[in-house]
């Protein structure tokens, strides 16, 4: 899965295009659409399925942690669209996460919605908020735009605290577990909510990752990357830069809001100062950079890192020392692996297996190719 080529064109059927007699380079060259490629894809899917099965047998606490990882990964995947692929730094994604979470919470508690039916509402609201946050990008650029997202992040907890009748204010809000029972068709009882949330989050994450992959390869995705890499050149080529940025913010916000919605179902309790402050945004950005900016599975790897690193550092050390170690680990990773974990693994893997599209112009010399996706964001 790591080696799926990002710049892939739709793989036209061109069987047996294996080149021979390369002097050096990757040991195996796999062409998209051929049998070995399909085999690799199938193997990856099987491996993921096996890992999921193994994880679902873990004790409830571990399984809960992994569910949390999936939810954070969805949120980071949303952030990746706007920060990784469109190059707009957002420090306001905690607000989307929170808006999604509170939408679900309020609809369940006050209006007795079924948990699953709140998801479209949460996605819709976060999409609209995303468009609104993206709107200033018509005039405001760079770090100044980051200030707009900062304003959103800082104001969200304040607004939640203020809108007390709806949100429960500073005291927070509890969603009773009888509201959060798994739907009947799953055949699970209320006590098995952990298993239900585990599989449900995993499924949603898979869908989100697939959607993001397709979006990035689509015409709109190309527009996003062009906007990131060179705004003026993109505009000169007929891309509506403002529209691209605004819509990217909308989609990104919607996905992170979806994660928030799942978070409510997973936690069952919300408080404005718990998970929806600026620190959550920082956690998302950290995860994104650790995993690999503008990579397909970077968000998942990054989510694992930000969820488990604090536990890991806390298990060897105590209290504030854990924070110090976390900070040091962060800096060390930036120094040693600037491409992020996925970017680094991808570079290593390319030395062994290189996957190229079937209509690659220089198929015979594919080893001369650099990494297909410069894992960098411009700002």
């Amino acid at each position: 899965m790591t080696t799926i080529d990002d710049t892939a064109a739709p793989s036209t059927a061109k069987p047996g295009a294996r080149p021979g007699g390369k002097p050096k380079g990757p040991r195996f060259l796999v062409v998209q659409g051929t049998l070995p490629y399909r085999g690799l894809q199938l193997g990856a899917v099987l491996l993921v399925a096996l890992l999921l099965l193994w994880a679902s047998g873990l004790p409830a606490f571990r399984m809960g942690q992994i569910t949390n990882v999936f939810i954070i990964a969805i949120a980071i995947a949303g952030l990746n669209l706007v920060t990784g692929y469109t190059g707009l730094l957002s420090i306001g994604h905690s607000a989307f996460f929170g808006l999604g979470a509170y939408t679900t919470g309020i609809l369940i508690v006050k209006y007795e919605f079924a948990p699953l039916s709140t998801i479209p509402v949460a996605i819709g609201l976060c999409f609209v908020l995303g468009l609104l946050v993206g709107l200033p990008s018509l005039r405001i650029h760079g770090l100044y735009l980051a200030l707009v997202t900062l304003a959103v992040a800082v104001s969200f907890p304040e607004i939640v605290r203020r809108a007390e009748e709806l949100t429960g204010g500073a005291a927070g809000m509890v969603v009773r577990s009888r509201f959060l029972a798994p739907p009947e068709w799953t055949g699970l009882v209320r006590a098995e909510r952990g298993i239900w949330m585990f599989w449900f989050s995993a499924a949603v994450l898979a869908v989100v990752m697939l959607l993001c992959r397709n979006l990035v390869r689509s015409r709109f995705g190309i527009a996003m990357r062009a906007t990131r890499d060179n705004e003026i050149a993109a505009a000169a080529n007929g891309i509506s830069v403002a529209r691209t940025k605004i819509v990217a913010f909308g989609i990104s916000g919607a996905i992170t809001g979806l994660a928030g919605s799942l978070f409510t179902m997973y936690m069952g309790a919300l408080s404005p100062d718990g998970s929806f402050t600026l620190l959550k945004s920082i956690e998302f950005i950290t995860g994104l950079v650790l995993g690999g900016v503008a990579t397909q599975i970077g968000p998942l790897v990054g989510a694992f890192a930000v969820v488990f690193l604090p536990y890991l550092t806390a298990s060897y050390t105590e209290g504030p020392l854990a924070g110090v170690v976390f900070g040091i680990v962060l800096i060390v990773i930036v120094f040693l692996m600037p491409e992020g974990i996925v970017g680094r693994v991808g570079i290593l893997a390319r030395k062994v297996v290189h996957i190229v599209p079937a209509d690659h112009p220089r198929l015979g010399r594919a080893d001369r190719e650099g990494p297909p996706e410069p894992a960098r964001a411009e700002q």
Binding site: Y144, E158, I282, V334, R376
Partner: protein, 298 residues
């Protein structure tokens, strides 16, 4: 009228603190072109250091000077060891290093000095009776001292940038680092001095704000100040010293007035409303009030 004056004074005092930290951010931005996310926590760390010195029965003024020096050294070291190696790569790397420092410095302060709230002595007389009456409003000396410190710092910085060799070099590097290097400016040293300077300014902001703030000195003391200061720096245009001061004071006064007069906002939405007014103004002036417009060559 009295109430208005008192609110104005509160706003000016808080605004001066924001302006101080915003100045630190601007000095870094002019040199390095990034927003230093760890600026607030750096100030927190040096303030803890100053507090620790005062508990060792060192006079508060000497403790403050020591914390300024510590801020300078820390800032310069961070630039040299952590920022410069990743700077060439991209902005995102610098950002993550700053976030790492943000968490690391905060926890380090907690690790060394404990997380319970400390009481930092004020360098100015701050008893109940230490005030002068202005039109019926009480103007406390410690608030006056903060405003005075801001004015003094502005004068020092202006003199530094205008009339000294180092200041000239700093302006040259900010304007065009490559040309400055070709003209014989030792760019790397100037950058380190810039970060050191901003570390020292941040330290000053820290020791001045904590005796005034109701939360005193805790691990979260500087967070709100940092948010307001970064908003102030952006509002003023990121590369303008005047802009940072105007921005800081605007935010301070806006916060105080909105809290006082708009009952809907009250004490709970002050940051939100101040930030949104700034976003609205940025809409009209996308590069901040005093920022230079960057021309892009195609």
């Amino acid at each position: 009228m009295e109430l208005f004056l008192e609110r104005l004074i509160t706003g000016l005092t808080n605004g001066s603190i924001y302006a101080l930290l915003a100045l630190a951010l601007v000095v870094v931005f002019r040199g390095t072109g990034t927003l230093n996310f760890a600026q607030g926590e750096l100030a927190l760390f040096t303030t803890f250091f100053a507090w620790w010195l005062t508990t060792e029965s060192i006079p508060v003024w000497i403790a403050i000077i020591a914390s300024l020096i510590a801020g300078f050294v820390l800032g310069a070291l961070i630039e040299r060891l952590l920022i410069r190696p990743v700077q060439r790569r991209n902005d995102m790397a610098v950002l993550i290093v700053a976030l790492g420092l943000f968490t690391g410095l905060n926890s380090l302060a907690g690790l060394i000095w404990g997380s319970e709230t400390k009481i930092m002595p004020s360098p100015f007389p701050n008893g109940i009776d230490d005030f002068v009456s202005v039109g019926g409003a009480r103007l406390y000396f410690d608030a006056l001292g903060v405003v005075g410190a801001l004015v003094a710092l502005m004068i020092v910085l202006t003199l530094l940038f205008r009339y000294t060799r180092v200041g000239l070099h700093m302006r040259a590097v900010a304007d065009n680092a490559e040309s400055a290097t070709l003209a014989g400016v030792r760019t790397s040293r100037i950058l380190a001095i810039g970060w050191g300077l901003s570390g020292a300014i941040g330290a000053l902001a820290g020791v001045l704000v904590t005796p005034l703030s109701p939360q005193q000195l805790g691990l979260t003391s500087m967070f709100h100040v940092f948010i307001a200061a970064s908003a102030a720096a952006l509002f003023g245009g990121l590369d303008s010293l005047t802009g940072a001061v105007v921005g800081g004071i605007t935010i301070g006064v806006l916060e105080a007035m909105l809290t006082g007069y708009v009952s809907f906002i009250g004490g709970s939405l002050q940051q939100t409303s101040a930030l949104f007014i700034i976003v609205a103004i940025l809409f009209l002036r996308p590069n901040g009030l005093f920022g230079t417009k960057r021309l892009v060559r195609v």
